[in-house]
């Protein structure tokens, strides 16, 4: 398996705004991964995205993009800004037509008129805004503006797409369109997508990695594999059912609708099923594998996507390949009600 390339490397990064301080001792992003930033308002999600979009300069520390230091590295700012594009929330559109807005970045990059026209059309199709090319962007509804801003970023086909609450002001129907755009980019694995959200379900459904932020710091024990379900008794066991067929044994007395989280380190991957009837054991297909320095993150589709962290040693023992079947085994105690 090819070792993935680190696209961002943050070291001792601090950004201060009055009393607020975003403090990130170390954080890496891998090329092609989809990562969600989750946290309450004021936790530093937008500030982190703005640092990654090179709009803000850190007060201290170093950000590297690829292998190049972003600030004081002697490179022109456009070298970086033309590779990472951010869609702000609320988005800002120029007081011109939708087509002008979408073509703006391409024009800066010297794209031909034909290419601008084609990419504009495709991007508008992707976000469900076909036919609105000539409309003044400011006359669009807030949801349409958000989708137009996303289309403007998509048209550029950047290496990194930074999305600040991409579905925050969009109707449910169109939010699904936006989610499917992100999912496509994830499957494609050419674009690194980093998005912020308040929505755990959305984060766990779309992202391979979730970073939890709180008061400007990264939470060391983040919730992972978050799902919504209902607790029922079944075969004498307490289970949380995510849908009609898929249920996990849970060691809890909770009842009714709950959110659960399963620590990715508690999920064991195995080629053979568990003999212990009391453990959760679900067969699924490997849909993604990402190598980090000393561990690998493997995503398995068992009806929902479970992310498991395994050591390099275990990974080489299992000889896993994408698309292969594998068993996810974890105790009821690993299923935490959150």
């Amino acid at each position: 398996m090819k070792l993935p390339e680190t696209i961002y490397r943050l070291a001792n990064v601090r950004k201060s705004y009055g009393d607020f301080v975003l403090d990130i001792p170390k954080l890496d992003f891998v090329r092609g991964e989809t990562c969600a930033l989750v946290g309450p308002n004021g936790s530093g999600k937008t500030t982190l995205l703005r640092l990654l979009a090179f709009i803000e300069r850190p007060t201290a520390g170093e950000i590297r993009f690829g292998s190049a230091p972003v600030w004081n590295g002697g490179r022109d700012a456009t070298f970086f800004t033309r590779r990472a594009t951010m869609v702000a929330h609320p988005p800002f559109l120029f007081n011109r037509s939708v087509a002008y807005n979408i073509g703006y970045g391409l024009k800066l990059r010297g794209s031909s008129r034909k290419e601008i026209r084609e990419r504009t059309r495709t991007a508008l199709e992707d976000v469900g805004l076909t036919g609105l090319e000539r409309k003044n962007a400011r006359t669009l509804s807030s949801g349409q503006q958000q989708r137009a801003a996303l289309a403007r970023a998509l048209a550029l086909q950047p290496e990194v797409l930074l999305l600040d609450e991409p579905t925050a002001s969009i109707d449910k129907k169109y939010a699904r369109d936006v989610e499917s755009v992100i999912r496509e980019l994830t499957t494609d694995a050419k674009t690194t997508v980093i998005f912020s959200t308040h929505n755990y379900r959305q984060a766990s459904a779309l992202a391979q990695r979730i970073i939890f932020l709180s008061s400007g710091r990264i939470e060391t024990l983040p919730y992972e594999n978050i799902f919504k379900g209902t607790v029922h008794k079944s075969d004498g066991k307490t289970k949380v059912f995510l849908n009609d067929t898929l249920g996990f044994v849970v060691a809890s007395e909770a009842v009714g609708a709950v959110h659960i989280s399963i620590d990715s380190r508690d999920i064991i991957l195995s080629r053979s099923p568990s003999t212990d009837q009391d453990r959760n054991c679900h067969r699924g297909k490997v849909v993604r594998m990402t190598l980090h320095e000393s561990y690998a993150r493997v995503t398995v589709d068992i009806g929902v996507r479970l992310s498991s962290v395994v050591s390099e040693q275990v990974l080489s023992q299992l000889q896993l390949r994408l698309g292969e079947d594998v068993y996810c085994i974890f105790d009821g105690g690993a299923v935490r009600i959150v």
Binding site: I55, A77, T81, R82, T85, L108, R109
Partner: protein, 230 residues
């Protein structure tokens, strides 16, 4: 009152028949004022942008000075430029006095503070996210500035039109620097002053009507831009 109605009739006749003298005066006025406004715009719009976005010591004082100089008396500008370009002045050797170029210099000095000051206001009124958005889409410093000015385009046009309105209607500087030479430096305002002094009202009224029409058109354009901008 007969002389007045007769003068109005004759002035209309001059306008309808596109009198040669009248046309020459109007053309000279437009040529000088449009040139000075164009030059003042080339200098004033970027300068206004730099003052608006720049952070430097004394910025507030610069803005106060600009707003004050919007009301520069035209005769004072005429007198100052005259002292530089008259035969005994430091630029006397260039023979600029009583030429359209001298008038353009005077009007440039009158129009520039207006265009700069209004461009400063226009740029400041633009949402800070314009520049940020342009940068995140890959714009360099110049392209970002262009994006901000593009967003402020209606207000910038208002600034330019206001500058033009100031110079097309001024008489003091044009009279002192141009010398009101027939067919060469005689403009609508200097001609009106001269013809009125001679008691020849028909040409003066015809020019007055045209000047008012120009002022009306300028205001209509400004109003239309303001509406589009909002």
């Amino acid at each position: 009152m007969d002389y007045l109605s007769e003068a109005i009739k004759q002035s209309l006749w001059l306008i309808i028949h596109f009198d040669h003298e009248l046309a020459t005066i109007v053309w000279t006025s437009l040529r000088v004022s449009l040139t000075s406004t164009a030059l003042a715009s080339i200098v004033g719009v970027p300068l206004g942008f730099i003052i608006a976005v720049g952070r430097f010591k004394g910025k507030h004082h610069v803005e106060v000075a600009l707003n004050t100089s919007m009301a520069l008396p035209t005769v004072v500008v005429g007198l100052t430029v005259y002292s530089f370009i008259s035969r005994r002045g430091p630029l006397g050797a260039y023979g600029l006095l009583f030429t359209p170029t001298a008038m353009v210099i005077g009007q440039f000095i009158l129009a520039t503070p207006i265009i700069v000051a209004l461009s400063v206001s226009a740029t400041k009124a633009i949402d800070a996210r314009v520049g940020e958005t342009a940068r995140t889409l890959g714009a360099n410093a110049v392209q970002t500035a262009a994006a901000i000015l593009n967003e402020a385009r209606y207000a910038i046009l208002v600034a330019i039109v206001a500058g033009f309105g100031r110079v097309i209607a001024e008489v003091g500087s044009a009279m002192i620097l141009g010398g009101n030479i027939a067919g060469y430096t005689r403009t609508m305002t200097t001609a009106i002053a001269l013809e009125t002094g001679k008691g020849e009202f028909s040409l003066a009224i015809a020019l007055g009507i045209i000047l008012l029409l120009i002022a009306l058109s300028v205001n209509a354009v400004v109003q239309s831009f303001r509406l589009r901008g909002s």
